[in-house]
Amino acid sequence: MKQLICILGVFFLSSIQALEYQGQIDFEHRQFDSDADSSTHDSQTSTFINLNASKELQNVKFQLGLKARDAYVDHNRDYLNLDDTNISWQASEWSLSLGTHIFNWKIMEFFSPIDSINPKNLSTGKDVERLGLPSLVYKKEFESSELQVIYIIDSKSSEYPQAQDRQGLRLNLQTPKYVEDNAELSNGDELFQFILRYKKSFEDFEFDAHVAQKYDTSSPLIIVETPSTIPAALEDLTVRPYYFQLQQLGMSIQTSREDWTYKLEATSLNYENTEVDFFVPPLGGITKLTQKDHSKLALGAERSIFYDNNHTSTLYFEYLSILGTSTEDARSLGAFQRDVFFGLKHALNDFKGHEFSLLLTYDLQGHDESIFGLSHEFRLNSAWKLEYGLTFIDAPKPDPTDPLDFYYGLKPLRESDNMMVTLSRYF
């Protein structure tokens, strides 16, 4: 129902001429190769809404960002988020903005370790979407540089796929908790959270550095909480993401040389060394866990090739590595530990904007994990677009003797080959 209200809202907002707006409604159907398991509801149709509207009155700008999903089968996947909704005061060389903000620090296409400021919506079933962070943002511009001071007013958790969603851990995750430096759990209101960011352009280089103190909503520990009595079934256990206090340093640099664009991204994550209890099912026993300090490094290169027939091909090569921690610990930090990405986009540059995309990620640690995707999109007319694609995921069978092995790397996504068709209406 609320999604229907959203659709009506999109039409209403788009009819207000005084507003600057742009948005889209996507009707997507995704079909999985093996959805016979009654515990999952992944093959289904969904409506996605994405709307941005703004209004400027002299130096004051109002901005509204809205994202919503209406899943036709599993309504646990519905959401409605105001992601980039804020009011800002803009002077010629500085601005101050209050509200929720999306900080997009992504460079190139796939791996972007510095782009980890916003909590994420991991349950969209397609692109990972950032969730707006309640914050006060001061920007000061200089001749060829910019300073940002971001005060995070309130913590916001990421949203996770639940048990019926194969793109998650196949667990019902409870509302995340925040781990304070005295090992107490909170709602994330005790740490003074801020980010300082400095960007500078010089010659062909773009440099970007930041220091942050915040709760890490990007890489939580998934904790099985200690029950008061031994539960009869594993499903009765409480499983919850825990966010740890983090001091983060990050930098990126990108430059163009001849026909290539290169990037380097590095980030160092240092956690408050707090230990929490992890209940080891099925019989119990408690292990002390803490989030491990580590670093991430990403390298990338991009090149566009132009053909005489007006076609354009763009090639992407990217590499990601987690450093400063053991291979075993790195496995618990995310799906990718030491991986490469290869991407190819081929645009015909014709009336209909036909574009073909191919992506491949491959695990270099010998786990035989890979994702291979193909898609094709084109305009039906000036307002409608159609996209369809296939995704193949390859991962080895989990080790039956290790109950945690199922959750590592791409193993939860094993046997999740799927195809999708998306019809989009733009405003």
């Binding site: 742009q22 163009s256 026909d259 132009f306 005489d308 009336f351 000036s382 677009k385 989009s424 733009y426």
Partner: protein, 246 residues
């Protein structure tokens, strides 16, 4: 005495090199300060099918050929809000950034190769960015009472081997340009028409309202038309930064 003076002026004009003519043309088009308006582009394929593109454009005139411009896409709707920021560089590749509103992301573009099609039209990014004086060497092919015919050869990387332009002496702007591809074959012909006077302070600029580009090899055409073009507009330099695209 009158005869001598006339003779001197004529000799002087003949002595003007192609480079000097282009400097004069460049100077005649300086002083725009800032320009804004809407551009519509009609794309026509070889079968005469038509589609429309719509853009908003802002240009800030800089010193020494370092102009800055923002093109904001309005139609087709799937690229609505996409902005292309270009900093033209006097004697090197331009710098470009693309803002993608769907992802709230500013992407740096490697603009060394500017020969690709702009929005599937017969205009390339190189054509849209405009021509900087120092990026070409010039040769005067012909002169008559109303025009100069100038051959321009790119000195930096370009999709063309040469351009031949007929420059109207009254408008101090080209009325026709032929573009030759990497095999030195005629690729495209642009016809500029509907010149309109625009007054900025005490200076009058004559600018074409319409540019009709015909691809001689594919028979595709694109017609670019300026609407509501204003010159002498006061624009803020700080708005032409990649960080301000959002």
């Amino acid at each position: 005495m009158k005869f001598t003076l006339l003779f001197f002026i004529t000799i002087n004009a003949w002595c003007m090199s192609a480079r000097e003519i282009m400097e004069k043309v460049d100077k005649a088009n300086k002083g725009i300060i800032g320009a804004s308006g809407e551009m519509s582009m009609t794309l026509i394929d070889a079968q005469a099918n038509k589609v429309e593109r719509l853009l908003k454009a802002q240009t800030l005139e800089g010193n020494a050929q370092n102009d800055k411009s923002i093109l904001e896409f309005i139609k087709p709707l799937d690229v609505k809000g996409v902005k292309l920021l270009t900093h033209t560089i006097k004697d090197d590749a331009n710098k470009q950034w693309l803002y993608l509103p769907r992802f709230k992301r500013v992407k740096k573009i490697n603009s060394r190769n500017q020969s690709c099609s702009f929005m599937a039209s017969e205009f390339s990014y190189e054509d849209i960015a405009g021509r900087q004086l120092d990026k070409y060497s010039y040769k005067l092919l012909k002169e008559d009472d109303s025009s100069w015919t100038i051959e321009s050869t790119p000195k930096t990387k370009s999709g063309y081997t040469k351009l031949i332009s007929i420059i109207n002496k009254e408008y101090m702007n080209p009325v026709k340009t032929e573009y030759y591809d990497r095999r030195s074959e005629l690729l495209k012909v642009a016809i500029m028409s509907k010149f309109e006077p625009h007054k900025v302070k005490d200076k009058t600029f004559h600018l074409a309202k319409t540019i009709h580009m015909k691809n001689q090899q594919t028979k595709k055409e694109s017609i670019l038309t300026w609407n509501n073009r204003s010159l002498g507009v006061s624009l803020k330099e700080s708005d032409f930064k990649s960080t301000k695209l959002k």
